[in-house]
Symmetry: C2
Subunit: 171 residues, 2 copies
């Protein structure tokens, strides 16, 4: 597989390489993708013993009426696999941050409910986390840059959601 010499047959005749302009933007974004998660993880782990992913899970629950959510909805909210969420939620339950229970409306679902300890932890973690997001991302950008950032990021996630398999052999 992946023999060179033949990709001029099943690939577009001349692959559309990135221009310098596009390549600079892509490399900068790639560097952001590699480094920003660990920078935010570091702050949260140091100050609250939470990963960024943990924080999103807890804050998703905290914003919900009853502080309760079905695992499948929560997985969709933080856009991760059910398998990963199941593991994370199990650990958080052992830490006493939330409780799992069968959904009273349908035993087919499982709901997670934030405990008081979980609530207190997000509340305590939020200011430091927001400060880090401001420091690394938001502060120093103009409102119009922030606007374009949102447009671009939404565009990317739309592409991913709409065509998860369409990068396959782009004819």
């Amino acid at each position: 597989m992946s023999e060179p010499g033949e990709y001029s047959c099943d690939m577009p005749d001349e692959p559309r390489w990135l221009t310098d302009h596009e390549r600079d933007a892509w490399l900068a974004l790639a560097k952001l993708m590699f480094n920003l998660p660990s920078a935010l993880d570091a702050q949260l782990l140091r100050d609250s013993n939470l990963t960024l992913f943990d924080y999103f899970v807890l804050s998703g629950l905290s914003m919900t009426p009853g502080r309760t959510m079905r695992l499948s909805d929560l997985a969709n909210f933080v856009s991760c696999s059910l398998s990963r969420l199941s593991n994370v939620v199990k650990r958080m339950e052992q830490r006493g941050l939330l409780r799992r229970a069968p959904d009273p409306e349908s035993p087919r679902y499982t709901v997670a409910t934030l405990t008081d300890a979980g609530w207190d932890l997000v509340v305590a973690a939020a200011p430091g986390h927001v400060a880090a997001v401001r420091h690394y991302v938001i502060d120093g950008l103009t409102p119009s840059q922030i606007d374009v950032l949102r447009e671009v990021a939404c565009h990317v996630t739309r592409q991913i959601d709409s065509a998860p398999e369409s990068a396959r052999r782009p004819q």
Copy 2:
């Protein structure tokens, strides 16, 4: 630790929460950070049995005169820990994609050199990878959006590089 009620003392009196505008941009960027890496990984793994990180390592070497680089420079180039790079490079050497050798100029360093097989693999992988980057990110953006994307991403990485520990208790 992380008791609520006291963060009004060692935190700014009123934490500067994100505005709706800022929050929308941040959540969109977060979703991108969570999903784009796996989308690009999926394409590369399916078509070339490489992760995005592998691809960056190989392409870093391929763009260098002699297709050779010191591990510490390479780690800096792909901005990762030496420990992680050491593991990745070891696996790639076992796959025959590159060779390790002591730097002839100073036995203190180790250099990695791309083999012919490694070169062929990046060359074969590049068109599909670039097509995926175009599909998920670049295509559909205007030149000015691409420009702002680069500015924003550079700003973020600058913040991370310049103040790796300054999110600590932002007085």
